[in-house]
């Protein structure tokens, strides 16, 4: 079986600045892959290329078997995406958001109704289907956004800091939803600034200055580096000398 995501020498330059510098990795189907890095390390640029929003300067990436450069439309049809900044429309109700995204993804009205009901049931949000999304607690909004990103049963879902600012109990419930989805075979590609969440991933990569500085299972990364936690390894990689931090 081919990889869900297959990246070879992927590069993006902006003028003289190389934001993503020849990165290579692959993600297996059904894997929970943590994509870590400091602010400005190139994570967002890399994700934009993987979801077909930004053309690579060099190298290639195949997502769900399709080339992000030449088959971006095919890629977009097979992926889901959510972030803290862009998720749902606050002024629409939960049901209206479901209908809107279902329509964009090309689902039939019957499918939207059926999947929407099942989703609200699963989230125990049935009673809130008519509530404006803006009135929901952040944690619920994020759970709903995650479910909406899965509405069209994508092969791969990209989650960009999905739990930022969410309370610690809901944050853990969110990760149980991630595990449940991965166990159904969906590939999960996730970024986070919570280092305890990095430990929940099957594998993680840590980006530093446009390159992948480390990649592997959390256990192997800790064992190989001698770091007690991923947080410790992250600090070590992101700031090789503590003085370097001052310029950022």
């Amino acid at each position: 079986m081919s990889a869900a995501i297959d990246v070879r020498g992927l590069t993006r330059r902006f003028g003289a600045f190389t934001a993503v510098d020849a990165i290579s990795f692959d993600v297996r189907a059904g894997e929970v892959f943590g994509f870590l890095g400091a602010n400005g390390a190139g994570k967002t640029t890399a994700i934009k290329m993987l979801i077909g929003l930004l053309a690579p300067s060099a190298g290639e990436a195949r997502v769900a078997g399709f080339d992000v450069r030449t088959q971006a439309e095919e890629v977009r049809r097979r992926i889901g995406y959510m972030s803290q900044r862009f998720s749902l429309y606050d002024d629409l109700t939960a049901r209206e958001n479901i209908a809107l995204y279902g329509g964009i993804y090309g689902l039939s009205d019957a499918a939207i109704r059926e999947r929407g009901d099942a989703m609200l049931d699963r989230l125990r949000l049935g009673h809130a289907g008519a509530a404006r999304v803006g009135s929901l607690p952040l944690g619920w909004k994020q759970k709903l956004a995650f479910s909406v990103a899965l509405l069209h049963a994508p092969a791969i879902v990209f989650l960009d800091e999905p739990t930022g600012g969410v309370d610690p109990v809901t944050r853990r419930q969110f990760w149980e939803m991630i595990y449940a989805e991965a166990s159904r075979g969906t590939t999960v590609f996730v970024t986070t600034h919570y280092m305890d969440e990095a430990e929940y991933c099957d594998r993680v990569s840590i980006m530093v200055d446009g390159r992948i500085a480390a990649m592997g299972t959390p256990e192997a990364l800790k064992a190989d580096s001698g770091a007690a936690t991923l947080d410790e390894l992250f600090v070590r990689l992101a700031r090789p000398s503590s003085a370097a931090g001052a310029a950022r």
Binding site: G165, W175, V235
Partner: protein, 316 residues
């Protein structure tokens, strides 16, 4: 509550926005020179509290006394003496670093030169880029400029609303190092953060959730409020461990914590070592022979989850 020199005293403060209760009978006191943390998730009421104590919002009930001044009656006197860094980037992107700083200084009738000693520990790091447009700065540099702008008029108390939200773990650590430098000058600082691990960098913290204060104490003391014996459980198959622990008849709570699980046991009378032995036996009956179970001291996040109860409900 004593007000003897306390830079901030909040008593029974409440504020509603329509149906939403943003602050529900909140009382707290910040002591002289203290680095005080307001720790809790979004929607906790942290921003509303900042807006009341910086005189930008009128409370429905209760009082806030800032530097001995009343937040409603003495608003003009307070405004010139507090520094406030709002959660959203609020600088002028088309002005240069230096122009932004000069503008904020002039609003308060002062100059960069007069405020230089105060801002130096932070401003020196971005001074080499003083001619760069603020909009073209990196996230970390924007943050340092915003902090410089909030300090240039030499305030007597500093309020920082989620300065580290969305910031990576390393940059967050560096920002807290800066705050400790500022604290050394005796400036009282109140910082809001959704990151529980940052509570340890504060002298004292208030845990806030849905407009209520759950606890106020030194970070090292907060854990004492955890209501049960707590254990760290490690093993190869974390998901199986989670299920097995949740099925334990005396489980009070089970939560993943990075590469381990935290298990709270409802049996208060039993010795922790005896509980650990019994839980190991329970896990062995599930085929989880490699599980390690060790008593631990509860941390801030453990305590927060125990005190917050059920997460916020989605009301219709």
């Amino acid at each position: 509550m004593s007000t003897g020199g306390s830079p901030l005293v909040v008593e029974r403060l409440s504020k509603r926005f329509g149906e939403t209760v943003a602050l529900d009978d909140v009382s707290l006191e910040v002591r002289p020179g203290e680095l005080f943390g307001l720790v809790g998730p979004d929607g906790g009421g942290k921003t509303t509290l900042f807006r009341v104590v910086t005189t930008l919002l009128l409370p429905d009930a209760g009082t806030a006394t800032v530097l001995g001044l009343d937040a409603v009656r003495d608003l003009w006197a307070i405004r010139s003496r507090v520094g406030y860094m709002p959660g959203r980037f609020s600088l002028y992107p088309d002005l240069s670093v230096e122009e932004n700083l000069r503008f904020f200084a002039s609003v308060f009738g002062t100059s960069i030169e007069e405020g230089y000693a105060t801002i130096a520990p932070i401003y020196r790091q971005i001074e080499p880029f003083r001619d760069r447009r603020a909009g073209a700065l990196s996230g970390g540099m924007k943050q340092k400029l915003a902090l410089s702008c909030a300090l240039v008029h030499r305030p007597d108390i500093l309020f920082l609303d989620e300065p580290t939200t969305g910031v990576d773990a390393v940059s967050r650590r560096e920002f807290w190092d800066l705050l400790h430098e500022l604290r050394a000058s005796g400036l009282p600082i109140v910082v809001a953060t959704p990151y529980m691990d940052e509570a340890d960098r504060c002298d004292r913290v208030a845990l806030v959730q849905q407009g209520r204060v759950l606890a106020i104490d030194a970070p090292s003391e907060i854990g004492a409020r955890f209501p049960h014996p707590l254990f760290a459980v490690r093993g190869r198959d974390r998901f199986a461990l989670l299920q097995a622990l949740r099925d334990h008849p005396h489980a009070a709570s089970v939560f993943p914590f990075g590469d381990e699980l935290h298990y709270a046991d409802a049996r208060a009378q039993m010795a922790p070592s005896a509980i650990a032995e019994e839980v190991r036996a329970h896990l062995r009956t599930r085929g989880l022979d490699d599980a390690e179970v060790a008593p631990i001291r509860p941390g801030i996040e453990d305590t927060f989850m125990a005190l917050m109860g059920a997460p916020p409900e989605a009301a219709a």
